[in-house]
């Protein structure tokens, strides 16, 4: 009986929430300005947000960063000798280049409303396998092989794009299939083994040290900054945001919706290819059986990113912070002596929390 009552309350609550959408929710918030406007009708004035709401906005924006700081403080207190040393932070910042490229590739399509491209880690892995296989097994020169690896990524992106945009097949289905297919081909190409033996000279494109960190770290920074600029300030980025928000609105506003959607899949393939070449250069080879380990961190970071900087919105800078947040958490736990099972637990947990957070933030914004 009590349960039934509670259930009913929930329903009433839901119903009234649903109703408010069309009527005047949020309008409530415009009321006061409206009232004070009667005197100076027609003269726009930006409302001054109250301190409380400003604090709330700021805290939503930077909550994850605060948690990150708190996490570092806890690890520092728990393992002062191990954690608070330069090599720890070098490890955190130098090891994440593949993930930066993977997340940005995923952002390309997720920003334009494709939900979701599961093939990103597989495309990355395919290019990363192709390069050492061509060089080591087939005797290609490294640069042409790298070019082919990048082109392969672009081509796969284009196939994904054709299937999703032109043939209108569901994104998850297409990319799940593509992902499995590519994973299999990678294993076949490599004979189920890791392929290594690339020259150290080629490795310098990733490992050349600048200010104590490998240059690949800076590639990631440049990529993220460029992407963030594109979304915030360029016409293309604005169009991408609108396509992500509503295809029909974009179409009727003169935005070439299908071209942008297709282009985003191609761009995702390109980023996977380039990211793979840099990662292979750093490693000197590649083991295709490790491909699956990238899937969860990629999604965890992208969704965690929606809780940072621009709450409720997929954004590159938030995603980058999310990556280093996750890596700090795992490295700290490992330094505390926890085993390999820690990282799936942590990534999985953060993914669930992050998706919940981003859903709640989006709902609040509407």
């Amino acid at each position: 009986m009590d349960a039934a009552r509670q259930h009913d309350q929930d329903i009433e609550h839901d119903v009234s929430q649903g109703v408010s959408q069309g009527v005047d929710q949020g309008v409530d918030q415009g009321v006061d300005q409206g009232a004070s406007h009667d005197a100076d009708r027609g003269v726009p004035r930006r409302p001054v947000p109250g301190l409380a709401s400003r604090v709330r906005t700021v805290s939503a924006r930077y909550a994850v960063i605060a948690v990150w700081a708190a996490m570092i403080a806890v690890y520092a207190a728990a393992e002062p000798g191990l954690f608070l040393r330069t090599p720890t932070f070098q490890t955190i910042f130098s090891s994440q280049q593949p993930l930066v490229f993977l997340t940005m590739a995923l952002l390309c399509t997720i920003c334009v409303g494709e939900f979701v491209d599961l093939s990103v880690p597989a495309v990355f892995s395919f290019s990363a396998t192709l390069l050492p296989v061509l060089v080591v097994d087939h005797g290609w020169a490294v640069w042409p092989a790298a070019a082919v690896a990048v082109l392969a990524g672009v081509a796969i992106g284009a196939v994904n794009g054709l299937l999703v945009v032109v043939a209108e097949v569901n994104t998850i289905v297409v990319t799940l299939g593509m992902s499995t297919l590519l994973g299999g081909i990678s294993l076949w190409m490599s004979h189920l083994n890791s392929v290594s033996g690339l020259s150290a000279g080629f490795g310098r494109i990733a490992l050349y040290e600048v200010g104590g960190l490998p240059v690949s770290f800076y590639y990631g920074l440049v990529l993220v900054a460029g992407f963030a600029y594109l979304l915030a300030f360029s016409p293309l980025g604005r169009h991408m945001r609108f396509v992500g928000a509503s295809r029909e609105v974009s179409r009727l506003s003169g935005v070439r919706v299908d071209r942008i959607r297709f282009g985003s899949f191609v761009a995702a393939g390109l980023l996977c290819g380039v990211g793979a070449v840099i990662a292979v250069a750093a490693l000197g080879g590649y083991n295709p059986t490790t491909a699956d380990s990238y899937l969860l961190p990629t999604f965890a970071a992208v969704f965690l990113g929606t809780a940072i900087i621009e709450p409720g919105t997929f954004n590159p800078v938030g995603t980058l912070i999310g990556i280093y947040f996750l890596e700090t958490g795992i490295l700290g736990l490992q330094l505390l002596g926890l085993q390999a099972w820690v990282s799936p637990v942590f990534y999985g947990g953060v993914l669930v929390v992050a998706v919940t957070l981003s859903t709640l933030l989006r709902r609040r914004r509407r």
Partner: protein
């Protein structure tokens, strides 16, 4: 109905609600007497919804207010259990029914009595309980019928039965929150018969509605909210009429729109040739600069499809549109309306949040979207022109709040419509195609929108106005094409009045079926 003596059924006093910097409600007072039908009116954004949400416990009010039912104070925020105990219930806009389930399941939803051990629902008992409630309501229905199969008024009866089932005879308050919106004119009068039978049984009703006509016709007293405050508390309805109510809601004298002289010039601007779309087959139309041409008709007559084709939103079977020197083929499959935008054609679609604006993005982003490529360079949109354009449109259309960064979804319907119009007016179009531009907006917004359309025509823009709203058509248009079965059945021009438009639309021999006026 004379209000009875004794404690009020519902008494709200000094109720306020603050959202951050905004005070949505300020010291609201409201008294509903037993057996009364009380109306509550106000513009979009006046705080009606906030008040309902406080009454139902969704929002907690600022400290200091009070809420009593039959003389007993309720705790604030309102607890649903207590609210039910006091006999206060709400019928929402969409009635809150599950179409796939039966009448009795809908009425008893959340109240099922189940066997102690078996957890089985005692269907017989449930059905009997529902039959009793419907009998009390004077509307016996087959309780085993699927709700989706019922007529509009029977559905309303189910929602009312659900709301009143816990009421003791001679008590209870039902709040109807825009519940009549889904009902046709016929169904509406039968709905009010039901409401009156509730009142005859001693219940009270608080009726929230945009339909002033309805409020004046059926309520005993009316309370008017404006900007979160009560402007008139419980005026007997026989002392007011629609005009007086509108004046109270707006706080300024209603500016009735009169026809103004035509802005049309001799200069030809656009021509439509051989348009075939939907039921329309071979429409030709010449539009001069500054001319406002209305398209209307019954739903299904083809005028809506014609407007959508002219705006580039719908692919026609055949036809061409020439705007100045630009030729547009209307029968081509196109991924987007870029060529229309480039030719100076702007289309304001009917469904503003599905086709017109992205709700989660800001006012400024939405306003400037069609021009970010043409006015910016490939690497940079440029901030100055965006700010300037947005400020100009906010001022022109009196968009509130005047905050370029506010997400469009947080604006009221009227202000969203203004943003949508501003999005296209800012591009100084040559041909403006409007589809129901004043649909579901309040009186003030409608006024601003009509003014802005006129100003555009004065500046030389040709306007095509597709609407079923005879008042808009009469006030704005230089001529009106009335469609019937895909053909232009009548063309009205000169001194237009709404009666003539309505008459031409229905025609002497028409049944009037499908009319959604």
């Amino acid at each position: 109905m004379t209000p009875a003596a004794g404690p009020h059924r519902l008494e709200v006093a000094g109720l306020s609600k603050t959202f951050g910097p905004t005070r949505a409600l300020r010291g609201v007072r409201l008294q509903v007497t037993p057996g009364e039908l009380h109306g509550l009116v106000g513009q979009n954004g006046c705080g009606k919804s906030t008040l309902v949400k406080i009454l139902t416990g969704v929002y907690s009010p600022d400290p200091g207010g009070s809420l009593t039912v039959d003389g007993r104070p309720l705790s604030l925020p309102v607890r649903p259990a207590e609210q039910r105990e006091a006999g206060v219930s709400v019928v929402h806009q969409n009635l809150g029914l599950v179409d796939e389930r039966t009448v009795w399941e809908n009425v008893r939803l959340g109240r099922y009595r189940a066997g102690r051990l078996s957890r089985r629902i005692d269907r017989k008992q449930e059905r009997r309980a529902v039959e009793e409630v419907l009998a009390r309501l004077g509307r016996p229905l087959d309780v085993g019928e699927r709700v989706g199969a019922l007529s509009a008024e029977d559905r309303a009866a189910v929602a009312i039965a659900r709301a009143m089932q816990d009421h003791r005879p001679g008590s209870g308050l039902i709040i109807f929150d825009e519940s009549t919106r889904a009902l046709g004119r016929e169904a509406r009068s039968r709905f009010f018969d039901l409401v009156r039978s509730l009142i005859a049984g001693g219940a009270s009703v608080l009726l929230i509605s945009h339909q002033l006509e309805e409020i004046v016709e059926v309520t005993d007293r009316v309370t008017v909210l404006r900007d979160g405050a009560v402007i008139e508390a419980g005026v007997p309805t026989r002392e007011v009429d629609e005009t007086a109510l509108t004046r109270m809601m707006l706080g300024r004298h209603l500016v009735t729109h009169d026809r103004v002289d035509t802005q049309a010039r001799e200069e030809a601007l656009a021509s439509v040739r051989g348009l075939a779309v939907g039921p329309v087959d071979g429409l030709d139309l010449e539009i001069r600069r500054g001319e406002i041409v209305g398209l209307t008709g019954l739903v299904g007559s083809g005028f809506q499809e014609a407007a959508e084709a002219l705006g580039g939103a719908r692919r026609a079977r055949a036809g061409g549109l020439t705007v100045r020197e630009h030729e547009l083929a209307l029968d081509r499959r196109r991924g987007c309306t870029g060529d229309f935008v480039a030719a100076g054609v702007a289309f304001v679609p009917e469904r503003r949040l599905e086709e017109g604006l992205a709700g989660e993005l800001s006012v400024a982003d939405n306003l400037t979207l069609p021009r970010v490529r043409s006015r910016g360079n490939p690497l940079r949109i440029g901030a100055a022109w965006q700010a300037e354009e947005t400020a100009a449109m906010i001022a022109l259309l009196d968009i509130r709040p005047a905050d370029p960064g506010a997400p469009v979804a947080t604006l009221s319907g009227g202000n969203q419509q203004k943003v949508l119009l501003g999005k296209w007016l800012a591009g100084k179009p040559d041909l403006l195609v409007l589809h129901e531009p004043t649909q579901a907006v309040d009186v003030g917004a409608r006024h601003d929108i009509i003014d802005a359309v006129r100003a555009a025509a004065r500046a030389g823009c040709g306007v095509v106005l597709a609407s079923v709203d005879a008042v808009d058509l009469a006030v704005l248009c230089d001529r009106v094409l009335v469609f019937r079965d895909g053909r232009v059945a009548r063309e009205l021009s000169g001194d237009l009045d709404q009666d003539a438009i309505v008459h031409a639309t229905f025609g002497a021999d028409e049944s009037g079926e499908g009319w959604v006026g």
